[in-house]
């Protein structure tokens, strides 16, 4: 987050706006006015001395009921679609994705007007095997034209880019319109999908993105698999992010640690979808991991404990924890960590 005292946003019709740092003194205010108010509300982190975050009402994370989705559930939620064997044995996978607007809570007490696929941020993690035929039935129930642009190899008409494929009903999908994207699942690896409507940064930053995983034909070794979508939000619209996370809710995994078993193979699907910042990073404490860039090779390229990603970059990470206990994971860009991008593994027997 870049510091700025010049670009501010009005609080709707309210005048509760960002000031310039040169606030006006009011003669009627005194410390007694504040002292006479309600009893103090304390905002403390679960981790003593961590100074990670302040939280409203004593809560430490966002109630999943509020958002209608839970970052912990998203972490292990893989949507293989509705399947049907085609003549010749090929697998057809189909999904319904609906874009619509939704208010979500991104850090306790702070709401953000998001645009979502299927009411969640990130959208469903679509998963297939290389060579499957995929059909994604998209309906735009939002308030702006949208698309779904998939990373992968496919014909231009299926690319979800405004102005391309419109003769076939593709391109920009207007409010109330539908389109079915159809293509082969290729190549195997960890990919993503996102809206490609203009302004691109805005449509992505509002929440229109998700993971698209294509498994190799023979699959990967059995593992405890985790989805980590690195994302961020700019709730005051000053073109700088103020809130960072994996799977949307800042600090969520500090208070809901990711529980894994000692010596189990853990596979992390890591994608960076953060807008407005050029890079992001992932670091794990007390361990090292094998890195498979884009997941397109079955041989790791690196054995490390920190990985840097640009926008849209992704890696599959594999590791085993030899010791029990709690281990942090977080952006090694400390500012992002302190603004919400941090969590804990809890390794148990």
């Amino acid at each position: 987050m870049r510091r700025s005292f010049t670009r501010r946003r009005a609080l709707g019709a309210a005048a509760a706006v960002a000031g310039s740092g040169v606030a006006v003194r009011l003669s009627h205010l005194s410390s007694t006015a504040a002292d006479a108010a309600a009893p103090p509300h304390q905002h403390h982190p679960l981790v003593p001395g961590s100074s990670h975050a302040g939280f409203a009402h004593g809560s430490t994370t966002v109630d999943p009921q509020v958002n209608g989705f839970d970052p912990s559930v998203i972490m292990r939620d893989f949507d293989w679609g509705k399947t049907r064997r085609l003549a010749g044995g090929r697998m057809l996978r189909e999904w319904d994705l609906v874009a619509y607007d939704k208010q979500i809570e991104i850090v306790p007490g702070v709401k953000f007007s998001a645009w979502t696929y299927n009411g969640r941020v990130p959208g469903p993690t679509l998963r297939a095997r290389e060579g499957d035929l995929l059909r994604i039935h998209f309906a735009n129930a939002g308030t702006h034209p949208h698309t779904i642009h998939f990373h992968g190899i496919h014909p231009a008409v299926m690319d979800g880019t405004p102005g391309i494929g419109e003769e076939a009903g593709g391109g920009l999908i207007d409010v109330g319109e539908k389109f079915t994207y159809e293509f082969d699942a290729q190549p195997f690896g960890l990919h993503l999908y996102h809206c490609h409507a203009s302004p691109l940064a805005g449509h992505i930053a509002k929440g229109l993105y998700g993971m698209f995983i294509v498994d190799p034909p023979q699959g990967r070794p059995h593992a405890d698999e985790l989805v980590m979508m690195q994302n961020a939000f700019d709730p005051n619209f000053n073109e700088d992010n103020e809130v960072y996370a994996v799977n949307t809710v800042a600090f969520h995994f500090m208070y809901r640690p990711v529980r894994v078993k000692r010596e189990d193979l853990v596979r992390i699907y890591l994608v960076n979808i953060v807008e407005l910042d050029p890079i992001n990073s992932f670091h794990v404490h007390g361990n090292f991991f094998h890195r498979f860039p884009t997941g397109t090779s079955l041989s790791p390229s690196e054995y490390t404990d920190t990985v840097i990603q640009g926008q849209g970059q992704r890696d599959i990470l594999e590791l085993r924890f030899p010791y029990t206990g709690k281990y942090m994971f977080h952006a090694h860009k400390s500012e992002f960590a302190a603004l919400g991008w941090m969590g804990l593994f809890e390794v148990v027997e």
Binding site: A15, A37, P40, H41, G54, V110, K111, N238
Partner: protein, 132 residues
């Protein structure tokens, strides 16, 4: 004796009054018609004590606001607050636990429930009160 003193005071008052009238004319409005304060939420003053920054916040807007989070130098920080709902015209005290260092600058952003932020800058930290 007393009469002479009163007369001198009265005579002294004439030029003072003339100067005042000239000032009113020059600035185009009388002193009690000063510009209204911005209709916004703002930090009125900060008081620094070891390990603590106390912020007195006023809501001079027409809408109820709520400070949901405090960001200090690009980090969410722990804090206590004297009230959750900040009604129009009301004030609250926010106490931030933070190991500030004398002489350094601090950028405070109060994040409201809508995500809007209220900025305040401590230009050079020192124990005591700093007014905006």
């Amino acid at each position: 004796m007393l009469d002479r003193l009163l007369r001198r005071i009265w005579l002294l008052g004439v030029p003072v009054g003339l100067v005042g009238a000239a000032a009113v004319i020059a600035y185009g409005r009388p002193w009690h018609d000063a510009p209204a304060p911005p209709r916004e939420v703002s930090v009125e003053q900060a008081t620094l004590r070891p390990g603590t920054i106390v912020l007195d916040v006023v809501n001079n807007s027409e809408e109820t606001a709520r400070v949901a989070q405090v960001i200090l130098n690009d980090a969410f920080v722990d804090f206590d607050q004297s009230r959750l709902r900040l009604e129009p015209g009301s004030a609250e005290r926010i106490t931030v636990s933070y190991p500030w260092i004398a002489g350094e600058a601090y950028d405070v952003q109060l994040m409201t429930a809508t995500g809007a932020t209220v900025a305040y800058e401590i230009e050079e930290a020192a124990a005591g009160m700093q007014q905006a």
